[in-house]
Symmetry: C2
Subunit: 307 residues, 2 copies
């Protein structure tokens, strides 16, 4: 496998993407302890929480408190998700507690409508005011395009459409665009073609981030395909937590520990301490009281020691 990038940046999204999708609300104390542990694994960024309506997503109603209480070392980027202008308003009340804002829309109309109850054009219009305001506040701005590789309601999502949205988001002020395989429809051939094109068309304007789900077990295969196309930024979730609110059953980001294990074994540096991620995943498994999707959490790291 020639000419692979030598290093990648792995962004941990479990505290937001994972905790949001749990049926039970996780105690604030547990969240703080888990974020503090993840912040010491070597991951360069953690998506800590989201400023969403507490009546819609009670799982993250403690966003302000979590941000106030976590102890994230300097150099680790603290990211929060905001769905709209109102979410940004709420986040900016505690502006000193985070570094990056992440916004999102879906590439497909139906998924966008079911997720945020509006059309894609309307979402984009909203982000055209949200992103400049966030940039003015000195925030790093990531825009995630959900259903970039396929929509569970509409099927094929044209690549042209995703590229067009990415360009529009870059023009609106995003310095990073994440491409989400929200319900695990992507395959490695598609992913390699997609990121090769994205690098050509957008690589000089924005950072390109891959966000895969392991819905059909192909998440790591897709990560390798993106890597082969030059992608060096990946979002993943400790314990394989996460999913998507719609449709039901669309569970499972790729597990941070499985991604780190694979990349390090491939000779691709992550800067992440695998055992530290496994410890955090073990902790969250106890908090949730159920088996998680992570494989390396069960099997343990590869052991190359001689007998």
């Amino acid at each position: 496998m020639s000419a692979l990038p030598g290093a990648v940046r792995i962004r941990e999204v479990g505290p937001r993407d994972g905790f949001q999708n749990e049926p039970e609300v996780i105690a604030t104390d547990d969240k703080v302890r888990l974020v503090d542990a993840l912040a010491r694994t070597g991951v360069p960024r953690i998506e800590i929480t989201s400023f969403v309506r507490a009546d819609v997503i009670p799982q993250l109603a403690d966003a302000q408190e979590v941000l106030a209480r976590v102890d994230v070392p300097a150099g680790v980027d603290r990211s929060v998700l905001v769905p709209n202008a109102r979410g940004l308003d709420a986040a900016l009340e505690v502006r000193d507690r985070f570094d990056t804002v992440s916004v999102f829309l879906s590439a497909s109309e139906t998924h966008n409508a079911r997720n945020v109850n509006r059309g894609v054009a309307e979402s984009l219009e909203g982000l055209r005011t949200v992103l400049p305001r966030a940039a003015e506040a000195g925030l790093h701005c990531e825009a995630v395009i959900a259903t970039s590789f396929g929509c569970p309601y509409e099927g094929v999502v044209p690549e042209d459409r995703v590229m067009e949205l990415a360009r529009a988001l870059a023009e609106a002020g995003a310095t990073e665009v994440g491409f989400g395989d929200t319900t695990g429809m992507a395959n490695p051939v598609q992913v390699q073609r997609f990121f090769t094109r994205a690098a050509q068309e957008l690589g000089d304007r924005v950072e390109l981030t891959a966000h895969f789900h392991n819905t059909r077990g192909q998440g790591l295969a897709n990560a390798v395909a993106a890597l082969q196309a030059g992608c060096t930024s990946f979002e993943s979730s400790f314990g394989e937590l996460g999913g998507c609110p719609v449709p039901k059953g669309a569970t499972g980001n790729i597990a941070t520990e499985d991604l780190v294990s694979m990349f390090e074994e491939m000779g691709v540096r992550t800067g992440v301490d695998l055992q530290a991620v496994l410890d955090a995943a073990h902790d969250v498994a106890l908090v949730l009281g159920r088996p998680l999707g992570s494989h390396t959490l069960v099997a343990g790291p590869v052991d190359w020691r001689l007998a």
Copy 2:
């Protein structure tokens, strides 16, 4: 992803590799029904059972009866595993009930000792008499080399050693060599290098088969890497059943349904009816009464229909 093979052969090993590793003995009626279902999915070969000592592996003590009762359509290869000459003797008593014999040894001394209680050289000597006898009986002969990509007891397994064993097995009469990642230690970079070399050194003498486990979630990524190196023969297990008797916890072949889903989505033809495999996996999940590792069994096939 240029120049991928256009089609692959997927060999179903669940009825042997999977059933052998279940703590409970599966009823013969269930086995027969499941094999008959798998035989109608389009897979070109099914490893149906193994002729092993009933006191050591009671799970497969009904080998003769299963072979007598299954109804496998013409054109679907019926394979059985034999560990040694005594196993071949037992299998040859019902010679007309199968087409292929699969033998095995480990590339590492410690794994071979813990698995079959002898040294690798002794195992190889045994196969030097077993393989010619099987070939004389008109059987297709597959030899699987376990721990080809790493040993859970010894760590690194030298590629030179695996190639040397493969050559020896080919000389002894194997027409196919399977390379087993018995405890899921392989990574995609290693796999692509390995199969590229194997094709160069052995490709004109024997068929080369990849046998991956999903122990650390990388099974499908390794399958893509092998495909990229030109490998077109894969063993997998419906429901992600399977594993290895030693060490404990080394569970999980790659799931046939996940492999079929991924390859078909990539445009690589398998000839396998994904829904038929899912039906069989659903059946075995009910028989075993526990959730399985398969992803596509939970998520369902990718649906590209328009809303």
